[in-house]
Subunit: 285 residues, 2 copies
């Protein structure tokens, strides 16, 4: 695996902006890494599309990022992780990390009662991926999975709080709350943005699993294992770079590419990240 230089960037992709929750956590935990984020905004959302189509889209994006010489690929989208992770792992010459396994591990550790809820897109829930992974790690766990299709558009519209979002959350989550779970997996990278509202409905006794945090830990583990952590020099900044949150000299660059509407991505993305996105490139797949 060591054909790649440690200063090469990590590629992180999602259907749109949801994966920025993962990017933010990776950048917080290992700020020395150079990052390239890719949002497929021309074809967002993935959650209502077939596994076959999502696999094709994921493959196209992975090929694009590999041409940019990434040293690792992070599939920062639950739908794409469920549909395409195995295919990508088999075909790419670099380590590939998804968001499902880290989320499944975190949930398995967090539950005491063995009653776990999973919410996600239609496609992620239909794939049954979380059910299989959690039951493999912690046999006997009872899983209650439920799609929440309006959560993504609510987040995309920036409606993180308010009466409508609260009402939608209450309606979606009531059936899963009745199951007396003690742990709820936020199985879509958009959902962590709705944590306050979801927490309010579920009550303080339910642990919310946000796979961004756990995925960033996994990224660090895999980089370390492969001797790929960026401990050396950080390359000069390009026009598409941005300084990290802390702004110190040892912070890697972050570049952003989307397949459509860079200005819209920039506006919504900055709300997500809480810091400036200086420039967003338009990618042709």
């Amino acid at each position: 695996m060591n054909v790649h230089k440690n200063s090469n960037p990590i590629g992180i992709f999602d259907s749109g902006i949801g994966g920025l929750t993962v990017l933010k956590e990776i950048h917080r935990q290992i700020p020395g890494e150079n990052l390239i984020y890719f949002g497929d905004t021309a074809r967002v959302p993935y959650g209502i599309k077939s596994a076959e189509t999502v696999r094709r889209f994921s493959r196209e994006i992975a090929d694009y990022l590999v041409r940019l010489d990434i040293k690792m690929l992070v599939v920062a989208c639950n739908t794409a992780s469920a549909a395409a992770l195995n295919t990508l792992r088999e075909s790419l010459p670099i380590p590939v990390v998804g968001v499902l396994m880290p989320g499944a591990y975190a949930a398995s550790r967090a539950t005491h009662t063995g009653r776990v809820g999973v919410i996600g897109t239609e496609s992620t829930v239909a794939s049954g991926a979380y059910d299989r992974l959690i039951r493999n790690i912690r046999p006997g766990t009872e899983i209650f999975a439920l799609p929440c299709p309006l959560f993504v558009p609510l987040v995309e519209e920036g409606r993180l709080t308010g009466e409508i979002t609260a009402l939608v959350a209450k309606e979606y989550l009531s059936p899963i709350k009745e199951k007396k779970i003690d742990t709820l997996v936020l199985g879509c990278t958009h959902y962590p943005l709705l944590k306050p509202v979801i927490g309010e409905v579920m009550g303080g006794s339910v642990t919310l699993i946000d796979s961004a945090d756990e995925t960033a830990r996994e990224v660090r583990r895999v980089l370390t294992k492969n001797g790929l952590l960026n401990l050396g020099e950080i390359p000069p900044r390009s026009p598409l770079c941005q300084k990290g949150e802390g702004g110190d000299l040892n912070t890697g660059f972050i570049r952003y590419y989307v397949t459509d509407a860079p200005e819209r991505f920039k506006a919504i993305g900055e709300r997500f990240l809480g810091y400036e996105i200086p420039e967003v490139g338009k990618a042709e797949l």
Copy 2:
């Protein structure tokens, strides 16, 4: 224009299922016509994407339908009509009908006070297309345009009524209601499905303009003008055909193609149409 046989089908396309409101009205008004419906479900929705990208998608779909020997193209999507109609007209050898002009004419006729509201996707509202068209037809009209981004996902989820939809409608429409309009253009082919809820918020004194009805009239006018009405024999049914609503022998076929998830399209489409969709083909663009 008469190189095409009159029994050739009319091609109707949309980003997804919204255009079925237009298909249904065309089939009701001119049931003898053979119809091919195309939904770009792999890339839906268009309303948040750039005009350039929507033009590219539209062109790909038009080329696909032209290869199926359509005699006319109906752009049954407001976003695609705003972005791509002129380009398609310039480049295609067949008549092209969009949904904006019929809607603009209907609104101009309906208003007495000259105060007209327009609701649509972000992209349609940002294009200003309705404003220009209505002011051309009826100079001095005051237009109040507003995007309603959650309406499409609400319809796609089948939430045509209920507390959440009512609340969203009330929140979106209140600012436009305050403008004392007497006519409201439903400037997205999904919105007619929400007519009861929208009508409830706006009150009985506001005329709701559903461009499907007017677009079907325009289709008939353009077919007549070009000598293309299907008065003759109806070709034998293919496996992808369906009998019309009435089921009589003079009813044309309807074929359906989507770019992804045909089963999902079939399920939601049947709810839209109120009649069975026997089969949906998967198109590769």
